[in-house]
Amino acid sequence: MTFSKIKDALTGLKSLAIGLGVTGQAFCAKNVTVIYPQEELGNLSTYRGPVELVGKEDAPDVPKCVACGVCGKACPSNCLTILSLIPAKEGEINSGPTEMGPAPQKGAKTPGQFILDFSLCSLCGQCVKACAHNALRYSNNPYMVSVNRGDFRLDLLARLRRRARD
């Protein structure tokens, strides 16, 4: 009885020593931390960030999008707003400020405005899958920092043009 207890205590002490050995080895081993501003992780290319519009092959600043509005309907959180020009009615002369209405608009084949409210987006990819024209895709931009909520209303057309320019 007493001896078995002493034996238990000794095996317990041994297990503690083994534990110290494990942490001791880790102490001497190399760090695994990536120290962020100086170095970056190598897995950013597989990250799927906020969606972006895909440009046409021949004209990278023109979106493939045909403003059908399917992506906006597929979105679970209503974060896509697609507006397109309301075409002028027959006989009217289209002058002055053009009006925009929610896509799809009959006769309008390009988006006039394509807004992603990233503060609502859950990156589920339903819009990307819904698009029949492969006009949307994920970006792999993980850096999305702002102190201003409005900055997360991304104008995807402007971003497409900026990408095409750079």
């Binding site: 534990g19 102490f27 760090n31």
Partner: protein, 328 residues
């Protein structure tokens, strides 16, 4: 010149000077120790630890201290204000006194004290009063549980601690730390830690428990009692407890270095650096323990003391008495 020497010769003046010096010494060590703790924790966990404030994050503790000082001090509305604020002061005050009899160097003994060991043990026992007051004064249930744990734990571990110290004191035949350190030889096998390893082991375990360090950090067990006795403290109130914990670590490591590792003794170049080196070796070990083990349960903690350490320490003391008696 002469007047200055005369002034220095006065024990009261020397006491005050030495106290101030020790206070500075402790403050410096606490800062270094906080950095060491975080660095060791980092390396044990395969990460670099503090890195950006100062070279290798050396100034991180200073930044922490400044942050703590800038924080608002909150007193619980239903708490006892006097006890609540007396507690942190009481936690830190005895620490300085405990350093007075430490033998730093054989050639330098500013305050000869023949009962230095008793002084340290007496004043370090005061620490638990502050924990008790902190828990009670904050009128918080977590604090109260922490305080109750602190008292029971302190009482339980004081006994084997004293017994293991006694064994060494009997071997050395003195309670003066200079004498005890001087009594040991220059080589490691002449140190009491090697001659009486059981007492050393018991002392180390008790030291960890007395300073409330993991795996015996039950009074402040964060995953059980949120923060135990210092749950309600903010800013420097917490900061002082934090510093007192590290200062207590330095003290028990110092005592262990003197009693069991020969203090300033070393194979060559005897002096204060040996003492500091030994203190930091023991501190490293205590920190290493913390970042390795889970926390014990409270009844297990008391069982370890009363059922294992106390009988073992008694046995060890008896053996030490017999050996000392045979020698004499």
């Amino acid at each position: 010149m002469n007047a200055f020497h005369l002034l220095l010769a006065h024990p009261a003046v020397r006491l005050v000077l030495w106290l101030v010096l020790m206070f500075a010494f402790i403050g410096l060590n606490v800062l270094v120790l906080v950095w060491v703790e975080r660095k060791v924790a980092g390396y044990v966990q395969m990460r670099p630890g503090p890195l950006h404030v100062g070279p290798q994050g050396l100034l991180q503790p200073v930044a922490d201290a400044i942050k703590l000082m800038g924080k608002q001090l909150v007193t619980p509305a239903a708490g006892d204000k006097v006890l609540f604020w007396a507690a942190p002061l009481l936690a830190f005050a005895p620490v300085t006194v405990c350093f007075l009899p430490m033998p730093f160097d054989p050639r330098f003994n500013p305050l000869p004290m023949n009962l230095g060991l008793v002084l340290i043990l007496a004043f370090s026992g005061l620490g638990v009063v502050s924990l008790c007051l902190a828990g009670w004064g904050s009128n918080s249930k977590w604090g109260l549980l922490g305080a109750a744990r602190a008292v029971a734990q302190s009482v339980a571990y004081e006994v084997p601690l004293l017994l293991s110290v006694m064994a060494v004191a009997i071997c050395a035949g003195s309670l003066d730390l200079y004498a005890i350190a001087g009594h040991q030889g220059t080589w490691p096998w002449q140190w009491y830690g090697m001659r009486n390893p059981l007492a050393f082991f018991i002392f180390l375990v008790c030291a960890v428990a007395e300073t409330n360090r993991a795996p015996f950090d039950l009074p402040e067990a964060e995953s059980e009692l949120t923060a135990g006795f210092h749950t309600e403290y903010s800013g420097m109130g917490f900061g002082i407890f934090f510093m007192a914990e590290y200062a207590n670590m330095v003290i028990v490591s110092g005592v262990a270095a003197v009693l069991f590792l020969g203090g300033f003794q070393g194979p060559f170049l005897q002096g204060v650096w040996w003492f500091i080196l030994k203190i930091y070796c023991i501190l490293f070990f205590i920190i290493w323990l913390r970042w390795t083990f889970p926390r014990v349960r409270f009844d297990q903690l008391l069982n370890i003391s009363w059922k294992w350490l106390t009988p073992l320490a008694l046995l060890d003391l008896a053996l030490a008495v017999v050996v000392a008696g045979l020698r004499a």
